[in-house]
């Protein structure tokens, strides 16, 4: 059991129907249109690890997060957490027990907390929902404990969310995620709505909690520097696929996929004042009509005919014909 990954995502797919309404299709003669938001991605997360998915908007990273926690049913493939499939009907009872151990933290702490509930009720909700602790006083004690754990005062439970700043609200959201003794937390852009000094507080808190409680994170972000700071392994997404997956250090020292290289060149970074930029070409294509073959081929300087027709498999941690064929240099991590 200890060898099996804690979270296993296999060939996960999600297709959205983005067709025009039926009447328009009949009158204007349009076809049904589908958007492949997530197009067959696989990854594993070991217990106690932080796995990050990074990508630009429209790459499908949030859709993956929602499927992993079960907020969105996949169109294909599956998610297995601690040996329990998230789709298999036969395992419904086991899945119900598993639910408690999975929680999610959302991007916008203004939208993810009920404005009409006091903080103690918000944090206690998972405890009550899973019937974890009996007795009002015991629940109140546990809520106070959780609030202290995330750096708030136990008395803050009597306040409403609007009395808190964005960073404090994100702390409340973290306390709520921990309330059910969660082991696996999916964080979808947890600091994107926060100022940098507050972001630093939240990222440090998340790392401290991981050390103390042995949490496993799936961390979704568009910010490469944040991902580098948080993750032990990173998957880079482009148009619904993982184009490269590798350890945090290697990815930044020796990026293999041309898209990863371009992205690392493009990020403005305070460590790189006065640096000459490599010009970046083009934008993410429309996912409704993705390019054939490798999705990155129209922007890739190394693309050839094979790249335009044949989809590269994820092999040796990178999905790129040019790397597989050794047509381009593969940097070696120092």
């Amino acid at each position: 059991m200890s060898n099996a990954p804690f979270v296993e995502v296999k060939d996960l797919r999600r297709v959205f129907d983005v067709s025009k309404p039926w009447l328009n299709r009949v009158l204007e003669g349009g076809e049904k249109q589908y958007l492949k938001a997530v197009d067959g991605i696989s990854f594993d997360i070991a217990r106690g690890e932080t796995f990050a998915l990074v990508g630009e908007s429209g790459s499908g990273k949030s859709t993956v997060a929602r499927m992993v926690v079960g907020l969105l049913p996949p169109s294909g493939g599956g998610v297995t957490i601690d040996g329990v499939s998230m789709a298999d009907a036969a395992q419904a009872a086991a899945r119900q027990r598993l639910r408690r151990r999975i929680q999610m933290i959302f991007q916008d702490p203004y939208a993810s907390l009920n404005p009409r509930w006091r903080v103690d009720r918000i944090v206690a909700e998972p405890i009550r929902a899973f019937d974890l602790i009996k007795g009002e006083r015991e629940i109140a004690n546990r809520v106070g404990e959780l609030l202290s754990l995330v750096g708030l005062h136990p008395d803050d439970g009597k306040k409403f969310p609007h009395e808190f700043s964005g960073g404090q609200r994100q702390r409340i959201a973290i306390a709520r995620a921990l309330a059910s003794n969660a082991e696996f937390i999916v964080c979808d852009e947890p600091t994107s709505a926060l100022d940098v000094s507050v972001q630093a507080q939240i990222l440090n808190l998340m790392r401290d909690l991981q050390d103390r409680l042995g949490l496993t994170y799936l961390f979704i972000s568009h910010n490469l520097a944040v991902v580098r700071h948080m993750a032990s392994r990173i998957g880079v997404m482009y148009l619904g696929r993982i184009v490269e997956v590798s350890g945090g250090r290697e990815l930044f020292q020796a990026p293999k996929h041309p898209y990863t290289r371009m992205l690392l060149d493009a990020v403005p970074d305070i460590g790189m004042t006065g640096r000459q930029r490599v010009p970046v070409n083009g934008e993410i294509p429309n996912p409704i009509n993705p390019p054939s073959g490798c999705p990155f081929n129209p922007r890739c300087p190394f693309a050839n005919d094979r790249c335009r027709t044949e989809r590269p498999p994820l092999d040796e941690g990178v999905a790129c014909h040019a790397v597989h064929e050794r047509r381009i240099d593969v940097p070696v991590a120092a």
Binding site: Q199, N204, M272
Partner: protein, 344 residues
């Protein structure tokens, strides 16, 4: 360095509310030279956008400019009539806002919007203005401009829209461009394109650019000088390399250390500044940063620090006051823990 394009002196902006007067900008001074990019950074509520709005005279009631001077090319513009100011805006100052979709009228083709702006500021004929519009679109890097000029804003992607907005700002060849979070709504790969475009245009046209953003990375790569704002004041201003690599003000030090970067070791903890920026209604007396500052001593809660020239920086902090014999002691006493976290 002749006369600066933009010169702001002791600018103060207040908002009159039922609960009293809020000082959003409290004594801000800076210059921008021809062809220079001044970055203005700060966290939400620091007053960076209000500074930009005050310069272009777009402070709406209940806000008001309560004092100070704004000079454009030597001429005072903060006391102009709304009609005169409207002519300065657009003609001599171009503006780029965060969300390109709200800066463009969705009902008009981009060409019509460009031609209208060009004809407002020049006396070109219809055909001449259209030709100029196509040139501008080509200059900001829109492929096939002679075809795209007849497109509507919704037919452009986010990055392409922002290019159209930049073309609009350039129509009248302004002396100054104020860019308020121009890349915040864009993806990194597109962001990089817009940054290099702004840099190139500033260099080629000699336009002064005031770049307001919360993204230190964008500033580090784009700006020549940077002003770090805190609670409506400039905490530190200086050449970008110096301010990013060796910040002096304790807030600037904390801010730089709090930013995860692509070069530092990822095992380091980020520097944590305790607490958060005070509300405008409760700005502490003395130095507004003193309740969060590890160096603060009694003088900091009493006297408001004036900007002090220190090497190439100007920093508003008592620690650097050569006339205060006790200042040095406070610095040595608590310097180590802060210094540690700052990315080398």
């Amino acid at each position: 360095m002749s006369e600066p394009v933009l010169s702001v002196r002791d600018l103060r902006v207040e908002f009159v509310t039922r609960r009293g007067i809020l000082k959003a900008i409290d004594g801000v001074s800076f210059d921008i030279a021809k062809g220079e990019v001044l970055g203005v950074v700060g966290e939400s509520g620091a007053g960076k956008s209000v500074t930009g709005s005050a310069v272009i005279g777009l402070i709406d009631p209940p806000g008001r400019i309560a004092g100070g001077e704004v000079r454009l090319g030597g001429q005072r513009i903060d006391n102009l009539s709304p009609e005169a100011m409207r002519r300065v805006r657009g003609k001599r100052i171009g503006m780029i806002f965060q969300d390109p979709l709200t800066s463009l009228n969705p009902l008009y083709r981009v060409g019509e919007q460009l031609v209208e702006t060009i004809q407002t500021h020049t006396n070109l004929s219809n055909a001449g203005a259209r030709k100029r519009a196509i040139e501008l679109l080509a200059e900001v890097g829109i492929p096939a401009p002679e075809r795209r000029i007849d497109g509507y804003p919704h037919e452009f992607s986010g990055g392409m829209r922002q290019r159209v907005v930049i073309a609009l700002a350039l129509c009248a060849e302004p002396e100054l461009i104020i860019a308020d979070e121009p890349t915040t709504a864009l993806d990194v790969s597109v962001q990089a394109q817009i940054i290099s475009l702004l840099k190139r245009l500033g260099r080629e046209h000699g336009t002064a650019i005031m770049l307001v953003t919360h993204d230190m990375g964008v500033i580090a790569e784009t700006a020549d000088r940077v002003a770090v704002m805190y609670s409506g004041r400039i905490a530190e201003i200086g050449p970008v390399r110096q301010v990013v690599q060796t910040p002096l003000h304790p807030y600037a030090k904390g801010l730089m250390g709090a930013i995860p970067t692509l070069v530092q070791s990822s095992d380091d903890r980020l520097v944590q500044i305790p607490g958060s920026m005070p509300r405008l209604s409760a700005i502490p007396p003395g130095c507004p940063f003193h309740p969060r500052c590890p160096h603060a001593w009694d003088r900091c809660s009493r006297d408001r620090p004036d900007p002090i020239q220190h090497a190439e920086h100007r920093v508003a902090c008592h620690l650097y006051d050569a006339n205060d014999p006790t200042a040095k002691a406070h610095m040595i006493h608590t310097h180590a823990p802060l210094e540690e976290g700052v990315a080398s």
